[in-house]
């Protein structure tokens, strides 16, 4: 049994009287300790697939059919309360624009502490001490001073580290990273990718990583799944995908990556 098994997932959007299919019969498996990269162009349904896992979809989206089994339990059959026990505790997310995903009126320390307190019955003082440790874990320098910093005081890379600290606060089994490095410059991107793979080794979670960049995929993936127009068109180990791409969209993505490589 894999950690996460998605079977025949369909997600539709309702706009007025019309329905659009965003995710169309997706099958996806993630094993423990594995990094699966979900690659594809914008609008291919990568993000919607990932948001479906703990049902944090936009209000206009509806999951039509399918099953999402996490540790053998079908998440689509759980109610709000059941999902809340999974969210953040077992499955955590990091997103693309870290500043936008942090509350502007609270310090980053208190936000990390909140992530701890949401699932663990701890007094605030202890949670704050733990938040400081977590900030050290994600390589934020001088964590004690930075506890009181606000998101607008920190750089994009720093804020992404804060997001990672919040996501890992309860030691989730699965981390879903939705283009976490797209808004960052290449140096910071490399640092964040390195940090993620180190943390994965020390903490032992599985990583579902969404990206449109095959260069990022090449650096971190164990396996790669390519999405195109709401469907998974190709899936395989990193070497299989890069060695012998079959679908034309995979070939396009690889060609784009190699073109950039040559420059």
């Amino acid at each position: 049994m894999d950690l996460l098994e998605i079977r025949d997932l369909n997600v539709n959007f309702k706009l007025g009287n019309q329905e659009f299919t965003a995710v169309n019969g997706v099958d996806l498996d993630i094993k423990e300790h594995e990094t699966l990269v979900l690659a594809g162009q914008s609008g291919s349904g990568k993000t919607i697939t990932c948001l479906s896992v703990t049902r944090i979809l936009p209000a206009s989206a509806r999951i039509g059919s399918g099953s999402i089994k996490f540790k053998g339990e079908d998440l689509l059959k759980l109610n709000e309360d059941g999902l809340r026990r999974i969210r953040g505790k077992e499955i955590a997310y990091i997103f693309q624009e870290p500043v936008a995903y942090l509350n502007p009126v609270f310090s980053v320390g208190s936000q990390i502490a909140e992530a701890i307190m949401l699932h663990q019955n701890k007094p605030e003082k202890e949670a704050l001490r733990e938040a400081e440790k977590l900030m050290g874990l994600v390589r934020i320098k001088e964590p004690h001073q930075r506890l009181a910093a606000y998101p607008h005081n920190l750089s994009g890379g720093m804020n992404q580290r804060v997001m990672i600290a919040m996501a890992l606060a309860c030691r989730p089994k699965l981390l879903i990273a939705d283009e976490p490095t797209t808004s960052l410059d290449v140096t910071t991107e490399a640092e964040i990718l390195k940090l993620l793979s180190e943390l994965k080794k020390t903490l032992g979670f599985s990583l579902l990583f969404i990206t449109h960049s095959l260069s990022v995929a090449h650096r971190i993936a164990d396996r790669i799944a390519v999405m195109y127009q709401g469907k998974i068109v190709e899936q395989g180990s990193r070497d299989e995908i890069f060695g012998a791409p079959e679908h034309f969209h995979t070939k396009e993505l690889i060609a784009a990556y190699e073109k950039i490589g040559k420059i």
């Binding site: 944090i56 936008a100 949401l118």
Partner: protein
């Protein structure tokens, strides 16, 4: 700091100090009737003069400031809490909860507030507490609309999605994450609302349905002033000026805050 804000803070600051230290700055007992000094014009002994029962007007107004400010603050406190609660619930949950609450707001807004308060006070007893509660419960609709609009846009923001993804509950998201981000305009409207509440209380007291004599309030000093307007101008002028300056002060404060945070 802008000039409006500064002027507002100074006016309200002086008034607040006068109200808090009323027993120390009043030269006489505000309810002490003195037959020997009826309708005395302002002098060194009686700074603002005396009324038809010989009571010192300055002392009565200092104690009246307590009543007016307390009623203003608490009435607005009640209306802000009620408004924030209904507005945030309506904005966050949407659908039928939103329709229900906002239609109720529309209904409440249909009543002419002053006459609604008049009839409620006529049925209940006109005490300070009743007045505060009634003013509070008839003035929360503006706050509710304001906070609903803020929450409608805030709840679509990414940090709320992140909070859901961390497993936060609805009450936690509303009260801990949304409301702190939405209170800016509410603070402004609350400060402006204090001015309105004070004016309302003065109006009610003037009609005899507010604070009951002998307790002094700026409004009920004016009732007595009405009958002696021809002979004792000071009983009308000073409480009238006090109300005017207070309203102006709160409006300055509110407008200043609006520029700063709204």
């Amino acid at each position: 700091m802008n000039k409006l804000l500064l002027t507002g803070i100074i006016i309200i600051g002086i008034l607040t100090l006068a109200a808090v230290f009323a027993p120390f700055i009043s030269p006489y007992d505000p309810n002490q009737i003195n037959e020997g000094s009826m309708l005395m014009p302002p002098s060194r002994a009686h700074l603002f003069g005396t009324d038809s029962l010989g009571r010192d007007l300055f002392s009565r107004m200092a104690y009246g400031a307590r009543i007016s400010l307390t009623i203003g603050l608490l009435a607005v406190g009640i209306s802000t809490v009620v408004g924030i609660f209904f507005g945030s619930v309506a904005g966050y949950f949407g659908s039928w909860a939103d329709s229900l609450i906002m239609r109720f707001v529309d209904i409440m807004l249909c009543f002419p507030t002053f006459f609604l308060i008049l009839s409620v006070v006529a049925i209940l007893e006109p005490s300070i507490y009743n007045i505060m509660i009634i003013i509070g419960l008839t003035n929360w609709m503006g706050v509710a609309r304001l906070i609903r609009a803020e929450i409608l846009s805030l709840k679509e923001r990414e940090f709320i999605q992140a909070e859901v993804a961390l497993g936060a509950s609805h009450p936690r998201i509303i009260f801990y994450h949304l409301i702190p981000n939405a209170v800016g305009p509410v603070i402004v409207s609350a400060v402006l609302g204090i001015a309105g509440a004070i004016l309302l209380e003065s109006g009610l007291s003037f009609l005899g349905l507010g604070v009951q004599p002998p307790t002094a309030s700026w409004g009920n000093i004016l009732i007595e002033a009405k009958s002696t307007l021809g002979v004792a101008w000071w009983i009308t002028i000073f409480p009238g000026m006090a109300i005017f300056v207070t309203i102006l002060g709160f409006n300055f404060l509110g407008e200043g805050l609006k520029k700063k945070i709204g």
